[in-house]
Symmetry: C2
Subunit: 325 residues, 2 copies
Protein backbone atom coordinates (compact mmCIF):
# COMPACT_ATOMS: atom_id res chain seq x y z
CA UNK A 1 0.00 0.00 0.00
CA UNK A 2 1.14 3.52 -0.89
CA UNK A 3 0.76 6.36 1.59
CA UNK A 4 1.15 10.15 1.39
CA UNK A 5 1.50 12.52 4.32
CA UNK A 6 0.66 16.13 3.47
CA UNK A 7 2.27 18.21 6.16
CA UNK A 8 4.79 15.37 6.44
CA UNK A 9 7.45 17.76 7.73
CA UNK A 10 5.33 18.96 10.63
CA UNK A 11 5.33 17.65 14.16
CA UNK A 12 2.47 15.16 13.82
CA UNK A 13 3.44 14.32 10.24
CA UNK A 14 6.90 13.23 11.35
CA UNK A 15 5.43 11.21 14.24
CA UNK A 16 3.02 9.41 11.90
CA UNK A 17 5.80 8.77 9.36
CA UNK A 18 8.10 7.36 12.05
CA UNK A 19 5.30 5.11 13.35
CA UNK A 20 4.55 3.83 9.82
CA UNK A 21 8.27 3.09 9.34
CA UNK A 22 8.22 1.15 12.63
CA UNK A 23 5.09 -0.80 11.68
CA UNK A 24 6.01 -1.53 8.05
CA UNK A 25 2.35 -2.25 7.35
CA UNK A 26 -1.07 -0.69 7.83
CA UNK A 27 -4.34 -2.56 8.34
CA UNK A 28 -2.55 -5.84 7.59
CA UNK A 29 -1.08 -4.66 4.25
CA UNK A 30 2.62 -4.06 3.68
CA UNK A 31 3.52 -0.43 3.03
CA UNK A 32 5.30 -0.23 -0.34
CA UNK A 33 5.91 3.51 -0.53
CA UNK A 34 5.57 6.72 1.48
CA UNK A 35 5.54 10.28 0.11
CA UNK A 36 6.17 13.14 2.54
CA UNK A 37 4.99 16.52 1.27
CA UNK A 38 5.38 19.87 2.98
CA UNK A 39 6.07 23.53 2.18
CA UNK A 40 9.76 22.62 2.26
CA UNK A 41 10.70 19.02 1.42
CA UNK A 42 10.85 17.10 4.73
CA UNK A 43 14.15 15.45 5.73
CA UNK A 44 14.70 11.83 4.63
CA UNK A 45 13.34 9.03 6.83
CA UNK A 46 14.84 5.58 7.43
CA UNK A 47 12.12 3.04 6.65
CA UNK A 48 11.71 -0.53 5.36
CA UNK A 49 10.01 0.92 2.24
CA UNK A 50 10.91 3.66 -0.26
CA UNK A 51 10.30 7.21 1.04
CA UNK A 52 9.97 10.19 -1.30
CA UNK A 53 10.10 13.74 0.02
CA UNK A 54 8.68 16.71 -1.81
CA UNK A 55 8.22 20.44 -1.20
CA UNK A 56 5.54 22.78 -2.55
CA UNK A 57 2.37 24.79 -2.09
CA UNK A 58 -0.59 22.64 -1.07
CA UNK A 59 -3.00 24.97 -2.85
CA UNK A 60 -1.14 24.10 -6.08
CA UNK A 61 -0.56 20.49 -5.09
CA UNK A 62 1.90 18.81 -7.50
CA UNK A 63 0.69 15.48 -8.90
CA UNK A 64 3.74 13.70 -7.50
CA UNK A 65 2.53 14.45 -3.95
CA UNK A 66 -0.30 11.92 -4.36
CA UNK A 67 0.87 9.30 -6.89
CA UNK A 68 -1.86 7.53 -8.95
CA UNK A 69 -1.75 4.31 -6.90
CA UNK A 70 -2.01 6.02 -3.49
CA UNK A 71 -4.17 4.17 -0.94
CA UNK A 72 -4.02 6.51 2.05
CA UNK A 73 -3.54 10.28 2.34
CA UNK A 74 -2.90 11.91 5.71
CA UNK A 75 -3.95 15.53 5.18
CA UNK A 76 -2.28 17.33 8.08
CA UNK A 77 -1.11 20.47 6.26
CA UNK A 78 -2.48 23.63 7.87
CA UNK A 79 -1.91 27.22 8.81
CA UNK A 80 -2.40 27.15 12.59
CA UNK A 81 -4.79 29.16 14.71
CA UNK A 82 -3.02 32.42 15.53
CA UNK A 83 -1.43 32.54 12.06
CA UNK A 84 -4.77 32.04 10.29
CA UNK A 85 -6.22 34.77 12.51
CA UNK A 86 -3.37 37.14 11.62
CA UNK A 87 -3.41 36.43 7.87
CA UNK A 88 -6.88 35.70 6.49
CA UNK A 89 -5.72 35.11 2.93
CA UNK A 90 -2.96 32.69 3.91
CA UNK A 91 -5.33 30.69 6.14
CA UNK A 92 -7.94 30.49 3.41
CA UNK A 93 -5.35 29.50 0.82
CA UNK A 94 -3.78 26.67 2.81
CA UNK A 95 -6.71 25.48 4.91
CA UNK A 96 -9.44 25.73 2.27
CA UNK A 97 -7.87 25.91 -1.19
CA UNK A 98 -5.40 23.27 0.01
CA UNK A 99 -8.29 20.96 0.89
CA UNK A 100 -9.89 21.58 -2.51
CA UNK A 101 -6.55 20.64 -4.11
CA UNK A 102 -6.50 17.40 -2.11
CA UNK A 103 -10.05 16.62 -3.25
CA UNK A 104 -9.10 17.27 -6.87
CA UNK A 105 -5.98 15.11 -6.58
CA UNK A 106 -8.10 12.25 -5.19
CA UNK A 107 -10.57 12.57 -8.06
CA UNK A 108 -7.74 11.80 -10.47
CA UNK A 109 -6.79 8.53 -8.75
CA UNK A 110 -7.83 5.10 -9.99
CA UNK A 111 -9.34 4.17 -6.61
CA UNK A 112 -10.76 6.59 -3.99
CA UNK A 113 -8.13 6.73 -1.25
CA UNK A 114 -8.68 6.86 2.48
CA UNK A 115 -8.09 10.47 3.55
CA UNK A 116 -7.34 11.18 7.20
CA UNK A 117 -7.85 14.86 7.96
CA UNK A 118 -6.91 16.72 11.12
CA UNK A 119 -9.66 19.08 12.10
CA UNK A 120 -9.63 20.77 15.46
CA UNK A 121 -11.62 21.55 18.59
CA UNK A 122 -11.05 25.18 17.55
CA UNK A 123 -13.94 24.58 15.14
CA UNK A 124 -16.30 24.68 18.16
CA UNK A 125 -17.24 27.38 20.57
CA UNK A 126 -18.22 26.44 24.07
CA UNK A 127 -15.74 27.99 26.42
CA UNK A 128 -14.73 26.90 29.88
CA UNK A 129 -18.13 25.52 30.83
CA UNK A 130 -18.57 23.46 27.68
CA UNK A 131 -19.00 19.69 27.79
CA UNK A 132 -20.05 19.08 24.24
CA UNK A 133 -21.99 16.08 22.94
CA UNK A 134 -20.79 14.54 19.67
CA UNK A 135 -23.56 16.13 17.60
CA UNK A 136 -22.81 19.69 18.69
CA UNK A 137 -22.98 22.31 15.95
CA UNK A 138 -19.69 23.94 15.07
CA UNK A 139 -19.88 27.72 15.61
CA UNK A 140 -16.20 28.67 15.40
CA UNK A 141 -14.90 31.83 17.03
CA UNK A 142 -11.76 32.01 14.85
CA UNK A 143 -10.82 31.74 11.18
CA UNK A 144 -8.74 28.59 11.64
CA UNK A 145 -11.70 26.75 13.17
CA UNK A 146 -13.99 28.09 10.46
CA UNK A 147 -11.71 26.84 7.71
CA UNK A 148 -11.33 23.46 9.40
CA UNK A 149 -15.10 23.06 9.85
CA UNK A 150 -15.74 24.05 6.23
CA UNK A 151 -13.01 21.64 5.06
CA UNK A 152 -14.67 18.81 7.04
CA UNK A 153 -17.88 19.47 5.14
CA UNK A 154 -16.13 19.46 1.77
CA UNK A 155 -14.35 16.18 2.60
CA UNK A 156 -17.58 14.54 3.77
CA UNK A 157 -19.24 15.57 0.51
CA UNK A 158 -16.26 14.32 -1.50
CA UNK A 159 -16.63 10.98 0.33
CA UNK A 160 -20.35 10.81 -0.39
CA UNK A 161 -19.55 11.44 -4.07
CA UNK A 162 -16.96 8.64 -4.10
CA UNK A 163 -13.94 10.87 -4.71
CA UNK A 164 -12.36 9.61 -1.48
CA UNK A 165 -13.13 7.90 1.81
CA UNK A 166 -12.46 10.52 4.49
CA UNK A 167 -12.17 10.44 8.27
CA UNK A 168 -11.88 13.84 9.96
CA UNK A 169 -10.51 13.91 13.51
CA UNK A 170 -11.11 17.04 15.57
CA UNK A 171 -7.89 16.84 17.49
CA UNK A 172 -7.65 18.23 21.00
CA UNK A 173 -4.81 20.60 21.89
CA UNK A 174 -1.68 18.47 21.57
CA UNK A 175 0.68 18.50 24.54
CA UNK A 176 3.63 18.27 24.81
CA UNK A 177 4.89 19.65 21.49
CA UNK A 178 8.67 19.67 21.07
CA UNK A 179 10.75 22.41 19.41
CA UNK A 180 10.02 26.08 19.95
CA UNK A 181 6.87 28.05 20.70
CA UNK A 182 4.88 28.41 17.44
CA UNK A 183 2.05 30.57 16.16
CA UNK A 184 -0.73 28.36 17.46
CA UNK A 185 -2.70 30.18 20.15
CA UNK A 186 -2.43 26.95 22.12
CA UNK A 187 1.38 26.91 21.96
CA UNK A 188 1.72 27.79 25.65
CA UNK A 189 0.01 24.58 26.80
CA UNK A 190 3.13 22.74 25.63
CA UNK A 191 5.57 25.49 26.57
CA UNK A 192 4.59 25.36 30.26
CA UNK A 193 5.92 21.79 30.35
CA UNK A 194 8.66 21.86 27.74
CA UNK A 195 10.42 25.09 28.65
CA UNK A 196 10.78 24.32 32.39
CA UNK A 197 12.13 20.85 31.49
CA UNK A 198 14.72 22.70 29.37
CA UNK A 199 15.47 24.91 32.38
CA UNK A 200 13.84 27.93 30.73
CA UNK A 201 11.23 30.39 31.98
CA UNK A 202 7.96 30.63 30.09
CA UNK A 203 4.72 32.63 30.23
CA UNK A 204 1.28 31.37 31.18
CA UNK A 205 -1.31 33.69 29.60
CA UNK A 206 -4.39 32.18 31.31
CA UNK A 207 -5.33 31.48 34.97
CA UNK A 208 -4.16 28.28 36.68
CA UNK A 209 -7.70 26.90 36.81
CA UNK A 210 -8.12 27.21 33.03
CA UNK A 211 -9.43 23.95 31.56
CA UNK A 212 -8.28 22.51 28.23
CA UNK A 213 -9.11 19.44 26.15
CA UNK A 214 -5.79 17.74 25.38
CA UNK A 215 -4.21 14.72 23.77
CA UNK A 216 -0.63 13.50 23.71
CA UNK A 217 1.42 13.13 20.52
CA UNK A 218 1.53 9.35 21.06
CA UNK A 219 -2.26 9.15 21.44
CA UNK A 220 -2.92 11.46 18.46
CA UNK A 221 -0.54 9.41 16.32
CA UNK A 222 -2.31 6.20 17.30
CA UNK A 223 -5.71 7.77 16.49
CA UNK A 224 -4.48 8.94 13.08
CA UNK A 225 -3.14 5.47 12.27
CA UNK A 226 -6.43 3.92 13.43
CA UNK A 227 -8.39 6.36 11.24
CA UNK A 228 -6.32 5.24 8.25
CA UNK A 229 -7.35 1.59 8.56
CA UNK A 230 -10.77 1.61 10.28
CA UNK A 231 -14.04 0.50 8.68
CA UNK A 232 -15.75 3.71 7.51
CA UNK A 233 -19.03 2.16 6.34
CA UNK A 234 -20.76 2.70 9.72
CA UNK A 235 -19.88 6.41 9.65
CA UNK A 236 -22.48 7.17 7.00
CA UNK A 237 -22.56 10.81 5.89
CA UNK A 238 -20.90 12.03 9.09
CA UNK A 239 -17.17 11.67 8.54
CA UNK A 240 -16.09 13.72 11.57
CA UNK A 241 -15.16 12.35 14.97
CA UNK A 242 -14.26 13.85 18.34
CA UNK A 243 -11.59 11.48 19.63
CA UNK A 244 -11.49 10.84 23.40
CA UNK A 245 -9.04 13.44 24.67
CA UNK A 246 -9.02 14.51 28.27
CA UNK A 247 -10.09 17.67 30.06
CA UNK A 248 -7.32 18.94 32.33
CA UNK A 249 -6.67 22.13 34.30
CA UNK A 250 -3.44 24.07 33.82
CA UNK A 251 -2.80 23.50 37.54
CA UNK A 252 -3.00 19.73 36.94
CA UNK A 253 -0.48 19.97 34.12
CA UNK A 254 1.88 21.90 36.38
CA UNK A 255 1.40 19.41 39.23
CA UNK A 256 2.24 16.51 36.90
CA UNK A 257 5.28 18.46 35.69
CA UNK A 258 6.49 18.86 39.28
CA UNK A 259 6.00 15.14 39.87
CA UNK A 260 8.27 14.37 36.92
CA UNK A 261 10.79 17.09 37.84
CA UNK A 262 10.46 18.56 41.28
CA UNK A 263 9.94 22.31 41.40
CA UNK A 264 10.06 22.73 37.61
CA UNK A 265 6.82 24.72 37.57
CA UNK A 266 8.53 27.63 39.38
CA UNK A 267 9.78 28.64 35.88
CA UNK A 268 6.20 29.33 34.75
CA UNK A 269 5.44 33.08 34.99
CA UNK A 270 1.85 34.28 35.17
CA UNK A 271 1.62 36.89 32.36
CA UNK A 272 -1.98 37.44 31.27
CA UNK A 273 -2.46 37.79 27.50
CA UNK A 274 -6.03 38.80 26.62
CA UNK A 275 -5.59 38.01 22.89
CA UNK A 276 -4.40 34.44 23.46
CA UNK A 277 -6.84 33.96 26.35
CA UNK A 278 -9.62 35.22 24.09
CA UNK A 279 -8.87 32.65 21.38
CA UNK A 280 -8.35 29.57 23.56
CA UNK A 281 -11.10 30.71 25.92
CA UNK A 282 -13.57 30.23 23.07
CA UNK A 283 -12.64 26.58 22.62
CA UNK A 284 -14.66 24.00 24.53
CA UNK A 285 -13.02 22.65 27.66
CA UNK A 286 -14.49 19.19 27.26
CA UNK A 287 -16.38 16.75 25.07
CA UNK A 288 -18.66 13.82 25.76
CA UNK A 289 -16.77 11.82 23.16
CA UNK A 290 -18.90 8.68 22.75
CA UNK A 291 -18.91 8.02 19.03
CA UNK A 292 -15.15 7.80 18.48
CA UNK A 293 -14.57 5.16 21.20
CA UNK A 294 -17.40 3.12 19.65
CA UNK A 295 -15.39 3.22 16.42
CA UNK A 296 -12.24 1.93 18.11
CA UNK A 297 -10.46 5.13 19.09
CA UNK A 298 -8.54 4.36 22.27
CA UNK A 299 -8.86 6.11 25.63
CA UNK A 300 -6.27 8.54 26.87
CA UNK A 301 -3.35 7.75 29.19
CA UNK A 302 -2.85 9.81 32.41
CA UNK A 303 -1.20 13.24 32.34
CA UNK A 304 1.94 12.07 34.09
CA UNK A 305 2.53 9.47 31.36
CA UNK A 306 2.14 12.26 28.79
CA UNK A 307 4.97 14.25 30.37
CA UNK A 308 7.18 11.16 30.82
CA UNK A 309 6.62 10.27 27.15
CA UNK A 310 7.72 13.78 26.15
CA UNK A 311 10.91 13.32 28.18
CA UNK A 312 11.47 9.91 26.57
CA UNK A 313 10.55 10.82 22.99
CA UNK A 314 11.31 14.49 22.39
CA UNK A 315 13.25 16.29 25.13
CA UNK A 316 16.77 15.45 23.97
CA UNK A 317 16.01 16.24 20.32
CA UNK A 318 14.52 19.57 21.37
CA UNK A 319 17.59 20.35 23.48
CA UNK A 320 19.89 19.56 20.55
CA UNK A 321 17.76 21.42 17.98
CA UNK A 322 17.73 24.53 20.14
CA UNK A 323 21.41 24.30 21.12
CA UNK A 324 20.64 24.04 24.84
CA UNK A 325 23.40 22.34 26.81
CA UNK B 1 -28.40 53.84 0.87
CA UNK B 2 -26.87 51.80 -1.95
CA UNK B 3 -27.89 48.20 -2.51
CA UNK B 4 -26.56 45.36 -4.67
CA UNK B 5 -28.39 42.16 -5.55
CA UNK B 6 -26.09 39.35 -6.69
CA UNK B 7 -28.30 36.93 -8.56
CA UNK B 8 -30.46 39.95 -9.34
CA UNK B 9 -31.77 38.33 -12.51
CA UNK B 10 -33.06 35.25 -10.71
CA UNK B 11 -36.54 34.65 -9.44
CA UNK B 12 -36.03 35.86 -5.86
CA UNK B 13 -33.59 38.56 -6.95
CA UNK B 14 -36.23 40.11 -9.22
CA UNK B 15 -38.86 39.89 -6.46
CA UNK B 16 -36.56 41.62 -3.96
CA UNK B 17 -35.62 44.30 -6.52
CA UNK B 18 -39.28 44.96 -7.33
CA UNK B 19 -40.12 45.20 -3.63
CA UNK B 20 -37.26 47.66 -3.01
CA UNK B 21 -38.49 49.76 -5.97
CA UNK B 22 -41.97 49.75 -4.41
CA UNK B 23 -40.66 50.71 -0.96
CA UNK B 24 -38.13 53.33 -2.08
CA UNK B 25 -36.39 53.00 1.27
CA UNK B 26 -34.99 50.34 3.57
CA UNK B 27 -34.85 50.49 7.36
CA UNK B 28 -35.98 54.12 7.24
CA UNK B 29 -33.26 55.25 4.80
CA UNK B 30 -33.95 56.29 1.21
CA UNK B 31 -32.49 53.97 -1.41
CA UNK B 32 -30.17 56.01 -3.65
CA UNK B 33 -28.97 53.29 -5.99
CA UNK B 34 -29.47 49.61 -6.84
CA UNK B 35 -27.07 47.36 -8.75
CA UNK B 36 -28.40 44.12 -10.20
CA UNK B 37 -25.70 41.57 -11.01
CA UNK B 38 -26.16 38.16 -12.62
CA UNK B 39 -24.48 35.82 -15.08
CA UNK B 40 -26.25 37.78 -17.81
CA UNK B 41 -27.12 41.42 -17.07
CA UNK B 42 -30.68 41.46 -15.66
CA UNK B 43 -33.35 43.45 -17.54
CA UNK B 44 -33.86 47.10 -16.51
CA UNK B 45 -36.20 47.86 -13.61
CA UNK B 46 -38.47 50.90 -13.16
CA UNK B 47 -37.64 52.41 -9.77
CA UNK B 48 -37.61 55.77 -7.94
CA UNK B 49 -33.79 55.49 -7.76
CA UNK B 50 -31.03 54.75 -10.31
CA UNK B 51 -30.70 51.06 -11.23
CA UNK B 52 -27.54 49.63 -12.79
CA UNK B 53 -27.51 46.16 -14.34
CA UNK B 54 -24.39 44.13 -14.87
CA UNK B 55 -23.46 40.66 -16.12
CA UNK B 56 -20.49 38.47 -15.19
CA UNK B 57 -18.99 35.55 -13.30
CA UNK B 58 -19.50 35.79 -9.54
CA UNK B 59 -16.25 33.92 -8.90
CA UNK B 60 -14.47 36.79 -10.70
CA UNK B 61 -16.79 39.44 -9.31
CA UNK B 62 -16.21 42.79 -11.08
CA UNK B 63 -15.70 45.75 -8.71
CA UNK B 64 -18.66 47.57 -10.24
CA UNK B 65 -20.99 44.87 -8.90
CA UNK B 66 -20.45 46.13 -5.34
CA UNK B 67 -19.61 49.87 -5.58
CA UNK B 68 -17.41 51.34 -2.78
CA UNK B 69 -20.34 53.01 -0.97
CA UNK B 70 -22.59 49.93 -0.91
CA UNK B 71 -24.59 49.47 2.30
CA UNK B 72 -26.43 46.22 1.63
CA UNK B 73 -25.57 43.19 -0.53
CA UNK B 74 -28.13 40.48 -1.22
CA UNK B 75 -26.05 37.44 -2.14
CA UNK B 76 -28.56 35.19 -3.88
CA UNK B 77 -26.35 33.91 -6.71
CA UNK B 78 -26.14 30.11 -6.71
CA UNK B 79 -25.94 26.94 -8.73
CA UNK B 80 -29.02 25.04 -7.58
CA UNK B 81 -29.26 21.58 -6.07
CA UNK B 82 -29.52 19.14 -8.98
CA UNK B 83 -27.08 21.24 -11.06
CA UNK B 84 -24.48 21.34 -8.27
CA UNK B 85 -24.90 17.59 -7.90
CA UNK B 86 -24.40 17.06 -11.65
CA UNK B 87 -21.39 19.40 -11.97
CA UNK B 88 -19.17 19.46 -8.90
CA UNK B 89 -16.74 22.03 -10.29
CA UNK B 90 -19.45 24.45 -11.33
CA UNK B 91 -21.16 24.21 -7.93
CA UNK B 92 -17.90 24.78 -6.10
CA UNK B 93 -16.98 27.69 -8.34
CA UNK B 94 -20.25 29.58 -7.99
CA UNK B 95 -21.37 28.54 -4.51
CA UNK B 96 -17.99 28.67 -2.76
CA UNK B 97 -15.53 30.69 -4.84
CA UNK B 98 -18.39 33.11 -5.50
CA UNK B 99 -18.87 33.58 -1.75
CA UNK B 100 -15.12 34.14 -1.30
CA UNK B 101 -15.31 36.79 -4.03
CA UNK B 102 -18.18 38.51 -2.18
CA UNK B 103 -16.12 38.47 1.04
CA UNK B 104 -13.14 39.98 -0.76
CA UNK B 105 -15.31 42.66 -2.37
CA UNK B 106 -16.70 43.59 1.07
CA UNK B 107 -13.19 43.85 2.51
CA UNK B 108 -12.44 46.59 -0.02
CA UNK B 109 -15.42 48.73 1.02
CA UNK B 110 -15.12 51.75 3.31
CA UNK B 111 -17.77 50.38 5.69
CA UNK B 112 -18.65 46.70 6.26
CA UNK B 113 -21.96 46.19 4.44
CA UNK B 114 -24.93 44.13 5.55
CA UNK B 115 -24.83 40.91 3.52
CA UNK B 116 -28.00 38.85 3.23
CA UNK B 117 -27.21 35.33 2.07
CA UNK B 118 -29.64 32.65 0.96
CA UNK B 119 -28.65 29.32 2.41
CA UNK B 120 -30.98 26.37 2.22
CA UNK B 121 -32.66 23.58 4.13
CA UNK B 122 -30.72 21.33 1.73
CA UNK B 123 -27.77 21.96 4.07
CA UNK B 124 -29.46 19.64 6.59
CA UNK B 125 -30.25 15.99 6.58
CA UNK B 126 -33.21 14.77 8.54
CA UNK B 127 -35.63 13.21 6.12
CA UNK B 128 -39.38 12.82 6.40
CA UNK B 129 -39.38 12.32 10.16
CA UNK B 130 -37.21 15.34 10.90
CA UNK B 131 -38.45 18.21 13.09
CA UNK B 132 -35.18 20.02 13.62
CA UNK B 133 -34.37 22.40 16.48
CA UNK B 134 -32.53 25.60 15.57
CA UNK B 135 -29.16 24.34 16.79
CA UNK B 136 -29.17 21.20 14.66
CA UNK B 137 -25.85 20.31 13.06
CA UNK B 138 -25.76 20.54 9.29
CA UNK B 139 -24.87 17.16 7.77
CA UNK B 140 -25.74 17.75 4.13
CA UNK B 141 -26.55 14.86 1.81
CA UNK B 142 -25.79 16.81 -1.37
CA UNK B 143 -23.07 19.09 -2.74
CA UNK B 144 -25.35 22.14 -2.97
CA UNK B 145 -26.18 21.90 0.74
CA UNK B 146 -22.53 21.31 1.58
CA UNK B 147 -21.45 24.40 -0.32
CA UNK B 148 -24.21 26.48 1.27
CA UNK B 149 -23.31 25.30 4.79
CA UNK B 150 -19.61 25.99 4.19
CA UNK B 151 -20.45 29.43 2.78
CA UNK B 152 -22.50 30.22 5.90
CA UNK B 153 -19.42 29.49 8.00
CA UNK B 154 -17.20 31.69 5.87
CA UNK B 155 -19.70 34.56 6.04
CA UNK B 156 -20.06 34.24 9.83
CA UNK B 157 -16.28 34.37 10.15
CA UNK B 158 -16.09 37.36 7.80
CA UNK B 159 -18.68 39.07 10.03
CA UNK B 160 -16.72 38.28 13.19
CA UNK B 161 -13.64 39.78 11.51
CA UNK B 162 -15.55 42.94 10.60
CA UNK B 163 -15.40 42.48 6.82
CA UNK B 164 -19.21 42.51 6.67
CA UNK B 165 -22.33 42.08 8.76
CA UNK B 166 -23.97 38.92 7.45
CA UNK B 167 -27.37 37.30 7.93
CA UNK B 168 -27.77 33.84 6.39
CA UNK B 169 -31.32 32.56 5.85
CA UNK B 170 -31.78 28.85 5.27
CA UNK B 171 -34.71 29.20 2.96
CA UNK B 172 -37.35 26.50 2.74
CA UNK B 173 -38.37 25.13 -0.65
CA UNK B 174 -40.01 28.07 -2.41
CA UNK B 175 -43.45 27.47 -3.88
CA UNK B 176 -44.86 28.54 -6.27
CA UNK B 177 -42.02 29.42 -8.64
CA UNK B 178 -43.07 30.90 -11.98
CA UNK B 179 -41.48 30.17 -15.36
CA UNK B 180 -40.41 26.70 -16.36
CA UNK B 181 -39.20 23.65 -14.44
CA UNK B 182 -35.51 24.22 -13.52
CA UNK B 183 -32.61 22.08 -12.36
CA UNK B 184 -33.44 22.32 -8.68
CA UNK B 185 -34.40 18.90 -7.34
CA UNK B 186 -37.30 20.68 -5.67
CA UNK B 187 -38.61 22.10 -8.96
CA UNK B 188 -41.60 19.75 -8.98
CA UNK B 189 -43.05 21.23 -5.77
CA UNK B 190 -43.84 24.35 -7.81
CA UNK B 191 -44.63 22.51 -11.03
CA UNK B 192 -47.50 20.53 -9.42
CA UNK B 193 -49.30 23.84 -8.85
CA UNK B 194 -48.05 25.97 -11.74
CA UNK B 195 -48.40 23.50 -14.60
CA UNK B 196 -52.01 22.51 -13.84
CA UNK B 197 -52.94 26.19 -13.55
CA UNK B 198 -51.47 26.59 -17.05
CA UNK B 199 -53.57 23.63 -18.18
CA UNK B 200 -50.52 21.39 -18.51
CA UNK B 201 -49.76 17.91 -17.20
CA UNK B 202 -46.81 17.48 -14.83
CA UNK B 203 -45.03 14.67 -12.98
CA UNK B 204 -44.99 14.08 -9.23
CA UNK B 205 -41.84 12.06 -8.41
CA UNK B 206 -42.68 11.41 -4.72
CA UNK B 207 -45.71 9.92 -2.90
CA UNK B 208 -48.73 12.11 -2.07
CA UNK B 209 -47.98 11.96 1.65
CA UNK B 210 -44.45 13.36 1.16
CA UNK B 211 -43.83 16.26 3.55
CA UNK B 212 -41.90 19.39 2.61
CA UNK B 213 -40.83 22.58 4.40
CA UNK B 214 -42.01 25.45 2.20
CA UNK B 215 -42.24 29.22 1.96
CA UNK B 216 -43.96 31.46 -0.56
CA UNK B 217 -42.10 33.97 -2.74
CA UNK B 218 -43.92 36.81 -0.94
CA UNK B 219 -42.86 35.50 2.49
CA UNK B 220 -39.26 34.81 1.40
CA UNK B 221 -39.02 38.31 -0.08
CA UNK B 222 -40.31 39.83 3.15
CA UNK B 223 -37.80 37.79 5.18
CA UNK B 224 -34.92 38.86 2.94
CA UNK B 225 -35.90 42.52 3.27
CA UNK B 226 -36.21 42.10 7.05
CA UNK B 227 -32.75 40.50 7.18
CA UNK B 228 -31.33 43.52 5.36
CA UNK B 229 -32.47 45.99 8.03
CA UNK B 230 -32.66 43.99 11.29
CA UNK B 231 -30.43 44.51 14.33
CA UNK B 232 -27.68 41.88 14.07
CA UNK B 233 -25.97 42.57 17.41
CA UNK B 234 -28.05 39.94 19.29
CA UNK B 235 -27.05 37.27 16.74
CA UNK B 236 -23.53 37.00 18.12
CA UNK B 237 -21.29 34.55 16.26
CA UNK B 238 -24.25 32.61 14.85
CA UNK B 239 -25.31 34.45 11.71
CA UNK B 240 -27.61 31.73 10.37
CA UNK B 241 -31.36 31.54 10.87
CA UNK B 242 -34.08 29.03 10.00
CA UNK B 243 -37.01 31.28 9.08
CA UNK B 244 -40.50 30.04 9.99
CA UNK B 245 -41.61 28.17 6.90
CA UNK B 246 -44.38 25.61 7.07
CA UNK B 247 -44.43 21.84 6.81
CA UNK B 248 -47.01 20.66 4.25
CA UNK B 249 -47.85 17.38 2.55
CA UNK B 250 -47.98 17.14 -1.23
CA UNK B 251 -51.62 16.07 -0.81
CA UNK B 252 -52.32 19.33 1.03
CA UNK B 253 -50.75 21.34 -1.79
CA UNK B 254 -52.93 19.50 -4.30
CA UNK B 255 -56.07 20.02 -2.18
CA UNK B 256 -55.35 23.76 -1.97
CA UNK B 257 -54.79 23.80 -5.74
CA UNK B 258 -58.20 22.20 -6.29
CA UNK B 259 -59.80 24.76 -3.99
CA UNK B 260 -58.37 27.56 -6.13
CA UNK B 261 -59.16 25.78 -9.41
CA UNK B 262 -61.52 22.84 -9.17
CA UNK B 263 -60.13 19.55 -10.47
CA UNK B 264 -56.78 21.05 -11.50
CA UNK B 265 -54.84 18.36 -9.66
CA UNK B 266 -56.03 15.73 -12.18
CA UNK B 267 -53.17 16.98 -14.39
CA UNK B 268 -50.60 15.73 -11.86
CA UNK B 269 -49.25 12.32 -12.92
CA UNK B 270 -47.62 10.01 -10.36
CA UNK B 271 -44.24 9.16 -11.94
CA UNK B 272 -41.74 7.98 -9.30
CA UNK B 273 -38.20 9.33 -9.75
CA UNK B 274 -35.75 7.71 -7.33
CA UNK B 275 -32.98 10.26 -8.04
CA UNK B 276 -35.15 13.29 -7.25
CA UNK B 277 -36.88 11.48 -4.39
CA UNK B 278 -33.45 10.58 -3.02
CA UNK B 279 -32.28 14.20 -2.96
CA UNK B 280 -35.42 15.84 -1.55
CA UNK B 281 -36.02 12.86 0.73
CA UNK B 282 -32.80 13.75 2.55
CA UNK B 283 -34.02 17.25 3.40
CA UNK B 284 -35.78 17.74 6.71
CA UNK B 285 -39.56 17.92 6.53
CA UNK B 286 -39.84 20.42 9.34
CA UNK B 287 -38.09 22.78 11.73
CA UNK B 288 -38.84 24.04 15.20
CA UNK B 289 -38.00 27.55 14.04
CA UNK B 290 -37.93 29.55 17.28
CA UNK B 291 -34.93 31.85 16.91
CA UNK B 292 -35.95 33.58 13.67
CA UNK B 293 -39.43 34.63 14.93
CA UNK B 294 -37.71 36.03 18.03
CA UNK B 295 -35.66 38.18 15.64
CA UNK B 296 -38.74 39.50 13.86
CA UNK B 297 -39.16 37.06 10.99
CA UNK B 298 -42.88 36.84 10.30
CA UNK B 299 -45.04 33.73 10.39
CA UNK B 300 -46.25 32.05 7.25
CA UNK B 301 -49.61 32.60 5.55
CA UNK B 302 -51.86 29.57 4.76
CA UNK B 303 -51.27 27.40 1.69
CA UNK B 304 -54.36 28.58 -0.12
CA UNK B 305 -53.11 32.18 0.08
CA UNK B 306 -49.80 31.01 -1.39
CA UNK B 307 -51.53 29.63 -4.46
CA UNK B 308 -53.81 32.66 -4.82
CA UNK B 309 -50.73 34.92 -4.60
CA UNK B 310 -49.10 32.95 -7.41
CA UNK B 311 -52.21 33.44 -9.55
CA UNK B 312 -52.21 37.16 -8.72
CA UNK B 313 -48.45 37.79 -9.04
CA UNK B 314 -46.98 35.37 -11.54
CA UNK B 315 -49.45 33.28 -13.53
CA UNK B 316 -50.07 35.71 -16.37
CA UNK B 317 -46.36 36.54 -16.78
CA UNK B 318 -45.56 32.83 -16.90
CA UNK B 319 -48.27 32.25 -19.50
CA UNK B 320 -46.88 35.07 -21.66
CA UNK B 321 -43.24 34.05 -21.19
CA UNK B 322 -43.98 30.49 -22.23
CA UNK B 323 -46.31 31.46 -25.08
CA UNK B 324 -49.32 29.66 -23.62
CA UNK B 325 -52.66 31.04 -24.81
Amino acid sequence: MKITILGGGGFLGRKVAARLAEMGSLGGKAITGLTLFDLVAPPPLAAPFPVTTLGGDIAELPEAAIPPDTDVVFHLAAVVSAAAEADYDLGRRVNLRGTDAVIDACRRLAKPPRVVFTSSIASFSGGQDGLLPDDTRQIPANSYGTQKAAAEMLLADASRRGFMDAVCLRLPTIIVRPGRPNKAASSFFSAIVREPLLGLETDLPVPDDFKVWVASPRRATEWLIHAAAMDTAPLGLDRSLNPPGMCVKVSEILAALDTVEQGASRLVRRVADPVIAGIVGGWPAGFEAKRAPAHGFTAHEPLIDVIRAFVADDLEATRTERGIA
